[in-house]
Symmetry: C2
Subunit: 160 residues, 2 copies
DNA sequence: TATATTATTGAAAATGATTATCAATAAGGA
DNA sequence: TCCTTATTGATAATCATTTTCAATAATATA
């Protein structure tokens, strides 16, 4: 259960981040976050717009883009690119690495497979690498992308 | 030394791949590959076009795009996206993992740092992961992207 | 080597995702 | 409730990448 998007008073986990940044809590922003929260998949701006539009038709595509940009800047949302010309967005609740995953992309048909059955090793290594890079280059690392590219079973057959 | 792009007879390492695929070896393609070969950095289509244009002004931007697309399809070139709205291209000579590297990207100013001083573990783990994914999902993995996102030293200071 | 076939090319137009503009609206503080 | 100003939505503008199509040039063939 995710709770109603319109709960009074209490406010959502992200309300503080908004207020702290001087950003207002508006209907479009609430709905866009709701949509992102309810769909675990990486949606394109247009897909988000369509879902948002079903809940609250008055919201325009421009606002969706603007809000996503803001959310990315705030670190609440992560923006991916799978090479098909449109960006994908995903809520980046880094609470205990839940729902975190990497991607396996078929360059033949564009299919994207999420995988999250990392070996613990992988997570350990990422953390270690982050620490090293952070130290060496003075970066404050916030996120990472790991994507493997190749041909899926079907596309493999068609190949040469 | 890279040799002249126009060597006779002998032909370049990629001639076979072209002939085998039924693709013709043309001047634009030779020059584009030359430019990619001489510049180790990830260039955008426009940047490639400008360099190509200096060598052989008759080549148009369209051809650059088309050729890059072909090279990517053939697996000779790899296409990256750093989130600034334009794709980057890099020769993917997978000869002994030379020149292979990962990226560290500043979401503040867009700066991109390559790093290739992997921990041995890192390479091992990637290979292992590739094997596992390959087996589990039936993919024939050809390449991967690993990118860390964060704020560089300068942008870090400006932040909140 | 000359010729036929057809992949490739370049210029210009089209596309499609994303961004800027600007007047109207609504959040949140006073 | 009123005021200030962030936010919004419709439209137009951008800008990277694709498509179109007639002209050209790389190979195969004679």
């Amino acid at each position: 259960m995710h709770g109603r998007w319109c709960e009074r008073g209490s406010g959502k986990w992200w309300h503080g981040k908004f207020r702290g940044g001087g950003y207002r809590i508006t209907m479009p922003r609430q709905i866009i976050l709701q949509v992102l929260d309810e769909s675990k998949k990486h949606l394109s701006a247009e897909e988000i717009y369509l879902k948002v539009h079903q809940i609250y038709p008055a919201i325009g595509l421009t606002t969706v883009y603007r809000t996503l940009e803001l959310l990315v800047k705030m670190g609440l949302v992560f923006k991916f690119d799978f090479g098909d010309g449109r960006a994908r967005y995903e809520l980046s609740k880094d609470d205990k690495d839940s729902n975190h995953h990497h991607h396996l992309i078929c360059t033949g048909c564009g299919r994207v497979i999420d995988y999250d059955d990392f070996i613990d090793e992988e997570i350990e290594l990422i953390k270690k690498t982050e620490r090293e890079l952070s130290k060496k280059h003075g970066f404050k690392i916030r996120n990472h992308i790991i994507q493997f590219y190749g041909l899926c079973k079907e596309c493999n057959v068609l190949e040469d």
